[in-house]
């Protein structure tokens, strides 16, 4: 009998920002450390950090003008980033074993966000996402991922 050990990959949390620095959605599935500041301040700090990193990349790269920030990894977690051409930003924190969450983020945007937020007549742009369908579909999608 072969005992196969599955690498347990974790998803920590997700932030969604629009292009006006507004945080539209935040959900944490596994979070072991709070930032020590209020959630509102944390959203602004996260957005500011992402904005600075994008500016850094576009000016540091001598060979191309496209920024294309994909993410960063530290010793404990990996921040995956996805931005749509309209300036919508998705930030997903996972553990370091995850190779690329780009597909997952693209799915969250094109299948979940577009269907349950953009096409929702009650959802106003720039406001916190209230849609129960979006929340439950997002949760079940995240649970269904091979990295949980």
């Amino acid at each position: 009998l072969l005992a196969i050990e599955l690498v347990n990959m974790t998803i920590y949390n997700l932030y969604i920002f629009d292009r006006n620095c507004q945080c539209l959605y935040y959900k944490a599935w596994n979070r072991n450390k709070k930032a020590g500041i209020s959630l509102e301040e944390e959203f602004k700090l996260m957005y500011g950090m992402i904005f600075s990193i994008k500016s850094l990349i576009s000016r540091l790269s001598a060979s191309s003008s496209k920024d294309g920030f994909l993410g960063y990894s530290t010793s404990n977690y990996k921040l995956n980033f996805y931005e749509t051409p309209t300036g919508l930003k998705f930030v997903l924190n996972t553990d370091t074993n995850v190779a690329s969450a780009r597909d997952a983020l693209q799915h969250i945007y094109s299948n979940l966000y577009v269907d349950y937020v953009v096409r929702n007549p009650v959802q106003r742009p720039g406001e916190w996402i209230d849609s129960e369908m979006f929340k439950s579909q997002l949760d079940s999608y995240i649970q269904s991922l091979p990295f949980r």
Binding site: I53, R59, S61, A62, T74
Partner: protein, 222 residues
């Protein structure tokens, strides 16, 4: 062909104390303009930079390097005439213009790397997991930025091609060179810009050896 693009060292206060670029070909484009068309230029610092109107291979961010073979420096032609004004008068056309992407100036780099120093600290604060280090690898579409922070707070940064695998060995070796040729140099003051000839020489040797080994094995260093 080395996949390392640049090496930087940041002091524990966040100031850039060392920077090294591997020689790389700069993209240059020469295009003939029969009349004024489409290009929107702006003066940024002491350069004339393309702001809008990508054409003939000239991209946004390229700087005007020469008009009709005459070099443009400090926004002016050798005759002293302002380059932007020259381009605005239709009598001067047709023209042959040369554009190229200039390397970021050292002042800009100092600023950008101080920004990275702060971003590093923020990434620790925003970590969802306990006891996280700062950013060890920042991924962009065209390059990867690797960072090693030592226990004393000095950061070693290597910007390499996306293809490059693990740069940890290289970062550790650069740290060793720093310890040997910079810290043990009696004339070097801590946190000051590094001006140690032996460090430069040995760093270049290390980068050459690294690029040769990755070329020979046909794969990136493991």
């Amino acid at each position: 062909m080395s996949s390392v693009i640049s090496v930087y060292i940041i002091s524990k206060a966040g100031g850039l104390i060392f920077s090294h670029d591997q020689p790389s070909p700069t993209a240059e484009v020469v295009a003939r303009f029969p009349h004024q068309q489409g290009l929107v230029l702006e003066e940024v610092d002491r350069n004339v930079v393309v702001k809008f109107g990508e054409q003939h291979g000239i991209q946004v961010g390229y700087s005007l390097v020469a008009i009709n073979g005459q070099p443009v420096s400090n926004r002016c032609l050798p005759s002293g005439e302002n380059a932007a004004q020259y381009l605005n008068s239709p009598d001067n056309y047709p023209l042959s213009l040369k554009f190229s992407r200039l390397k970021t100036s050292i002042n800009e780099r100092i600023m950008l790397l101080s920004m990275f120093h702060s971003i590093y600290a923020i990434s620790v604060k925003l970590s969802p997991e306990n006891k996280s280090s700062g950013i060890q690898c920042l991924e962009a579409e065209t390059f990867k930025l690797h960072c090693l922070q030592t226990v004393t707070g000095v950061k070693f940064i290597v910007i390499a091609d996306r293809k490059q695998g693990s740069v940890d060995d290289l970062l550790k070796k650069i740290y060793e060179l720093y310890a040997d040729y910079v810290l043990k140099n009696p004339f070097y003051a801590l946190d000051m810009p590094i001006r140690c000839e032996l460090f430069n020489v040995n760093l270049i040797k290390l980068l050459e050896a690294e690029s040769r080994s990755s070329y020979l094995t046909g794969t990136t260093t493991a």
